[in-house]
């Protein structure tokens, strides 16, 4: 469904952030993108919806070449790609409801959105989504009154109300505590399963990625160096991605200290449900 062909990005500073990346993501497939800081994870996600303009190569979504679209076509294409941000990126001075409804901006006209006159179906859908992410009582609060985890749930609702085919998720848990991180990751994966959404989740925490996601892509210096199941992340592979380190200490089974021992199994089961 999503295809990247020789996608390359070189910034004006001369840094090569993406070096001819090829990737294929099927409908409903969730991919975790791992790699050290500066490997190009963020750039890759932003090149897909062209928040960052790629230097060369193509992005194809359902046969449409995103990289060749004009401004209007790009706006229509962006409606099919929901994005979830690291620092939530809610418009902080707007209410929770307004933030969720802002996901419909691509579908309504300017004055309609200016006077907050969204179609009844959109509003009903917004309430349903808020209920789904567990925030139905908070719809009238201002976004900056919420906790980090709550804000990220609003961010998820905003991405989903776009009715996307693909979710682009940029470090969803980097600003959250370990417990909330798991809840958010589980929510995203559940929602993808419910709605048959493809997703690319850019994530720092390898253990968390292994726990919830079926396909892992490792990025290093703008190139894909690993693409496979979570079990395939051997210490050798991790060394190619991140560099030399005692990786046996980082394996989920062995790092019981911070994940709470045997509960890792329960999480995996819960995530699959």
């Amino acid at each position: 469904m999503l295809t990247l062909k020789a996608l390359t990005k070189r910034y004006k500073t001369g840094d090569l952030a993406l070096d001819s990346v090829d990737l294929e993501v099927a409908r409903g497939q969730v991919v975790a993108l791992i790699g050290p800081s500066g490997a190009g994870k963020s750039t890759m996600i932003r090149c897909i919806n062209r928040l960052v303009e790629p230097s060369s190569g193509d992005v194809e979504l359902d046969g449409e070449v995103i990289t060749r679209l004009g401004a209007g076509g790009l706006r229509r294409a962006r409606r099919r790609m929901g994005m979830i941000f690291q620092e939530y990126a809610l418009v902080e001075r707007l209410s929770v409801m307004e933030n969720v409804l802002s996901g419909r901006l691509g579908y309504v006209g300017f004055w309609q959105s200016w006077f907050r006159r969204f179609p009844g179906t959109d509003i009903a859908e917004a309430y349903r989504l808020l209920q789904r992410v567990g925030l139905e009582d908070h719809y009238d609060k201002r976004a900056d009154e919420l906790s980090g985890g709550q804000r990220q749930r609003v961010g998820i609702a905003r991405a989903l109300i776009q009715d996307p085919a693909l979710l682009l998720v940029d470090e969803p848990t980097a600003s959250l505590d370990p417990k909330t991180s798991r809840q958010i990751m589980r929510l995203i994966c559940e929602l993808c399963a419910e709605r048959e959404l493809a997703a690319i989740i850019n994530i720092h925490d390898v253990a968390l990625a292994q726990l919830f996601v079926g396909r892992i892509v490792g990025l290093k210096s703008g190139r894909i160096v690993y693409d496979g199941p979570p079990d395939g992340l051997t210490p050798e592979v991790l060394t190619t991605i991140y560099g030399e380190e005692d990786w046996t200490l980082a394996k989920p089974g062995l790092s019981g200290g911070d994940t709470g021992g045997g509960s890792g199994e329960d999480e995996r089961v819960a995530g699959a449900l």
């Binding site: 706006r75 962006r78 990126a89 901006l105 691509g106």
Partner: protein
Amino acid sequence: MPVTGEKGWQRRTTPVQLAVWFGWLLGVALFVWCWQTISAATTWFFVTDSPRVIADIGGRMFPPAWSYLDKLWQPMWDTINIATLGTLMAMFMAVPVAFMAARNTTPNAYVIRPLALLIIVSSRSINSLIWALLLVAIMGPGVLAGIFAISLRSIGFIAKLLYEAIEEIDHTQVEAIETTGAGRAQVMAWGIVPQIMPAFAGIMVFRWDINIRESTVLGLVGAGGIGLQLQSSLNVLAWPQVTVILVLIIATVLFSEWVSARVRHAII
């Protein structure tokens, strides 16, 4: 007890110290030269005579002619209107200029942005009294000239603070709106406007407060408001009336300061 080999400490190294002293020397020399220039243009007799004059004026200012207050309400109403309408008018012109001047929203960084910055600096460099002088020469005396003078001066002020606020917004919030497929106008209305709204309201109230003060003098050059009464009272040396005018101005300024503080408090 100086011991050889023990390390001394001084705040700056010697060359830096010398440069600092040289800087001070230049500063003091400049000050002295400026002072001499002013001194040469001053009639010192008036200055040495000033204690007597001050005592004289002070004596004449009291008791204030409170009955004169009746004639001041209309000019005071004009003064407040000049400030309010001038600020509102400036708002409509300053907002587009600010969006053109901010690096992240300007439609064109090489032609339109410098042009917007030139508008801002020209408007800011010229005091509203000078604008009034000019406008009275062009469109004749009256409140309208005052309103235009206030708004011409305020455009630069409002636009400058506003474009700085626009440049400081959180870009990811704008990106988030862009990714929903929103159009340009929608990105502005949903991603940028909510972020700058508190700053914008604060700037407007702040400028209104300043404009109340500025509009009290516009009458001196014929641009309406209470300055006209001040001018005529001074011309006939009616010091008791001057006292009343000054008291009224202080009261109005304190009132406007209180209003703007309340409004700013309510916004934040």
